[in-house]
């Protein structure tokens, strides 16, 4: 029926039917951060739409607004031409908008058919045969196979994703939003998924895929919208665009100039390394290239907890006295690579040599670095707990902890305060202080300045440079490319599980991060 109606509409209302989903000048602020300042997107019926942008550009926020998970501070959401105020995802689904998140939401112990029935709000009696037939019918509509009797928990990642799509279709979705749908898929699976989305769109529906991948946007999508720092910077037909134009829209025309005002290298500059902290840092790196190899990885292959191969053959050496910057978009494999380089993850293939004493600042500090209910002293003692023997010397540990609190400017009521009583920034400083304590041979840090204010960021940068001068080998990942370029002696980029070394240059790094050559 829907197909007929939209076909009819398109005939009567001239050549351009109203977009199925239109987001106009959306603004959204989280605390003091402007996530979106004027983002627009028009998903036309019959098209696959790619939403491109760097980390933090606001892609997911915009789509969560379209799905009713977030309310916009300003701007208008139009569905099928009429203004809608979506109060919840249920509301969005009732309006025909479905979303497939990066994390799946099926009940593992239930079958595919049961999951679909659950999602589509079956009332009264549950009829297994009817539920199975419904799944098969929906699968046929979009042209893929999915066993209705299989347990959701037994499905592969690709099949789980199909289940999520079928769940959305069962609710009558005409607009399907997918957050990084191909990130977890093998190339062949990704092809199949994109073909399926085209078939879905061809029935008068619209699909919106959030992606980092330029090639995917250009080949699989009809329309492309690019977001940059919360603003729509480009909206074009894919056929009329190319990688150069998209890259420029994502990174800004003038590269670094756009962010020049941000004092990323401030801490370094303060220390009298000269006006050009970046050049200074780089110069040191070149001079120190003869340093001893501290971390050595050869043909590293890493597989994550879900069995997805995240790093596919990386060879890398980190030397004493250098800061190696690692860049990469979310899910490119840098997360696993850093864990392995820090000795926290065993490679499934390849050779890896890491020093015995190595500090690690993980991305999720709440989960991986701190025990919330422990005291600060206990959290300091945590590092090295695995190898500790005999008695815990609490007096000594408490003394060391209070030195760290003082030396790193950590605001706490005392060494016996619970870690959870500290503010986020102070928790983070505590982790850094602990991991740098005792002059380890190497430090691996994942987004160490996230959540820190300007002064604390500057202090941290200063500490990293100091540690490097003292001969520490440092691996630094940051989602802020400018910070990486300012801090690093060398820069490598992860893309799709592979590693390339690039020049300390924003454009070169940006292109490598997006897989464009």
């Amino acid at each position: 029926m829907d197909v007929h109606r939209s076909a009819h509409d398109s005939l009567t209302s001239e050549s351009t039917p109203p977009p199925l989903l239109a987001l106009e000048q959306i603004a959204k602020r989280f605390g003091t951060v402007d996530a979106l300042v004027g983002a627009s997107l028009h998903a036309r019926p019959g098209t696959v739409h790619a939403l491109l942008g760097e980390n933090g550009a606001g892609k997911t926020t915009l789509m969560r607004i379209a799905f009713g998970e977030l309310k916009p501070d300003a701007g208008v959401v139009r569905i099928d031409g009429s203004v809608s105020r979506l109060a919840s995802p249920a509301d969005a689904l009732a309006h025909g908008i479905g979303m497939v998140h990066q994390h799946f939401t099926a009940v593992p112990a239930m079958t595919v058919a049961e999951n679909v029935a659950l999602a589509s709000g079956t009332r009264g009696r549950f009829r297994p045969a009817g539920a199975r037939a419904r799944v098969l019918e929906l699968c046929e509509q979009v042209g893929f196979t999915l066993d209705p009797g299989a347990l959701a928990g037994d499905l592969s990642v690709g099949m789980q994703q199909r289940l999520e799509i079928v769940k959305a279709l069962a609710r009558g979705a005409r607009v399907l939003i997918l957050d990084e749908p191909t990130a977890l898929l093998a190339p062949a699976e990704a092809e199949e998924l994109l073909a399926m989305l085209s078939r879905f769109a061809a029935r008068g529906n619209a699909a919106v895929i959030i992606t980092h991948k330029l090639r995917e946007a250009l080949s699989a999508a009809d329309d492309v919208t690019v977001l940059r720092r919360g603003r729509t910077t480009l909206a074009v037909r894919a056929a009329d665009s190319d990688a150069v134009q998209l890259t420029a829209a994502m990174l800004g025309e003038s590269g670094v100039a756009g962010r020049g005002a941000r004092d990323v290298g401030g801490g370094v500059t303060n220390e009298g390394n000269g006006e050009k902290a970046r050049d200074g840092a780089r110069g040191e790196g070149v001079r120190r290239e003869g340093g001893q190899v501290v971390i050595d990885a050869r043909d590293l292959v890493l597989v994550d907890g879900r069995g997805v191969q995240r790093v596919r053959g990386v060879t890398l050496a980190v030397r004493a006295g250098e800061i190696l910057g690692v860049a990469g978009v979310e899910g490119a494999g840098q997360h696993e690579l850093l864990r392995a380089l820090a000795g926290r993850m065993k490679p499934s293939e390849g050779a890896l040599h890491v020093p015995e004493r190595i500090g690690f600042v993980p991305a999720d500090r709440q989960r991986d670095a701190l025990v919330a209910g422990f005291t600060l002293a206990e959290n300091v003692a945590l590092s090295g707990a695995g190898a500790a023997r005999g008695r815990m010397r609490w007096k000594e540990i408490e003394r060391r902890t209070s030195e760290l609190l003082e030396g790193h400017d950590i605001v706490a009521s005392g060494v016996r305060a619970a870690a959870e009583s500290l503010s986020g920034g102070n928790q983070q400083k505590l982790v850094l202080a602990r991991e740098l304590d005792g002059a380890p041979h190497a430090l691996v840090a994942e987004n160490p300045t996230r959540g820190l204010d300007i002064a604390a960021t500057a202090a941290l940068h200063h500490r990293l440079v100091e540690a490097r001068e003292a001969g520490m080998a440092i691996v630094l990942y940051s989602s802020d490319l400018d910070e990486l370029i300012a801090m690093s002696d060398r820069l490598v980029v992860m893309f799709d599980g592979h590693l390339t070394e690039v020049a300390l240059d924003r454009d070169a790094a940006g292109r490598a991060m997006l897989g464009a050559s």
Binding site: G343, L370, L382, R391
Partner: protein
């Protein structure tokens, strides 16, 4: 060193109020059932603390296995190991101690009782190891496996006392009494109180000190509270830590069984434990998983069980009503803790809970 020690120990008034509330509820329930409630309550007191005989020969004797199994459960829970199998581990210890006492006493002579306690602890550790192995190797939830192993142990004892260990006349489903060399000496002459009580009282502060002041104890606490941080930040081998905790926990419960056999029952039979290993869970929870607290709650529950027998004898009130009081105590403590918010007990249990799901994943 823990940020907040079990808060209820610092608030004896709260605990006393809760205990009074539970007893008042018991009185009311007995009253409503048309029984002589006041007389029953007095019997409860007489049978537990009312006389030095009741205290020493009844309450303290009953508290002994409760303290040891309570420690077994508390230590396991502190590491995020949900060992519900103290009962089975206790039975394994009791059966092994009985076998050793019966067959090896001629060879071991005066060392028989020490050997019986040692093999009892080993047997308990082995019984726990089965669940630990299943968890680490196949991801089997220990909550399930330890409960199942309780039944296996119970029926194994049932088989033993009708088979290899049955008394020579083959009439009663129980073993022959142990020879005198296999009996635990009395702590106080003329009473029923044996040296096992001293062991239990000693074990609690030792466990407390180890958890607080040793690297191994610190690892246990860290793994229980946040296994991810223990693994990533502390490079702690989480599987090895939980395995060792399982073994220690099982050994304590096994020791409780061996002590019960060599100090109290002197013979093996099916109902050698009236469910000490299950009551131990309440003992440990009520103590906020604090080993020193277990000493106090073990004593309290020992008194309740001792008093309940007197209540049945003197006021014809079934002794099982005490189980209702025990359950009420736990529910009230947890309820009050939640109501007051931010309780150490709840947060510890919550932390341990999330940790355990993480580990099981």
């Amino acid at each position: 060193m823990s940020a907040r020690r079990a808060s209820w120990l610092r608030e004896p008034a709260t605990v006393a109020a809760i205990a009074a509330l539970a007893l008042a509820a018991l009185w009311l329930a007995l009253r409503l059932a048309g029984l002589d409630a006041t007389r029953a309550m007095l019997a409860l007191w007489d049978g537990s603390f009312g006389s030095s005989y009741a205290l020493v020969s009844s309450t303290l004797v009953r508290a002994t296995p409760l303290i040891l199994t309570g420690l077994a459960v508390a230590i396991a829970f502190r590491a995020g190991v949900w060992n519900i199998g103290a009962e089975g581990q206790l039975l394994a210890g009791a059966a092994t101690a009985a076998a050793l006492g019966l067959f090896a006493s001629p060879a071991l002579g005066p060392f028989t009782v020490v050997a019986a306690l040692a093999v009892g602890a080993l047997a308990g550790a082995f019984w726990a190891w089965i669940a630990a192995y299943l968890r680490n190797r196949f991801g089997v939830l220990e909550v399930i496996s330890t409960i199942m192993l309780n039944f296996v142990a119970l029926y194994a004892v049932g088989y033993l006392v009708r088979g290899p260990l049955q008394e020579p006349t083959h009439i009663y489903p129980q073993s022959e009494p142990l020879p005198a060399v296999a009996e635990l000496p009395k702590l106080i002459a003329g009473s029923r109180l044996h040296w096992g009580f001293a062991l239990a009282v000693l074990a609690a502060p030792v466990a407390w000190w180890v958890l607080r002041n040793t690297a191994a104890g610190f690892r246990v606490r860290a793994v229980g509270r946040n296994p991810d941080a223990a693994r990533v930040a502390g490079l702690v081998n989480v599987e090895r830590t939980t395995m060792r905790v399982f073994l220690v926990s099982g050994a304590l419960a096994g020791l409780a069984g061996a002590i019960e056999l060599t100090g109290v029952t002197f013979a093996l039979y099916e109902n050698v434990s009236p469910g000490y290993g299950y009551t131990a869970i309440a003992v440990a929870l009520l103590a906020g998983l604090d080993p020193l607290g277990v000493l106090a709650t073990g004593l309290l529950f020992g008194a309740l069980e001792a008093g309940s027998l007197a209540m049945q004898r003197e006021a014809a009130v079934p002794s099982v009503v005490v189980n209702v009081v025990e359950a009420l105590l736990v529910l009230l403590i947890l309820g009050v803790a939640r109501w007051r918010g931010g309780s150490a007990i709840l947060s510890r249990l919550a932390g341990v809970g999330s940790g355990s799901t993480e580990a099981a994943r």
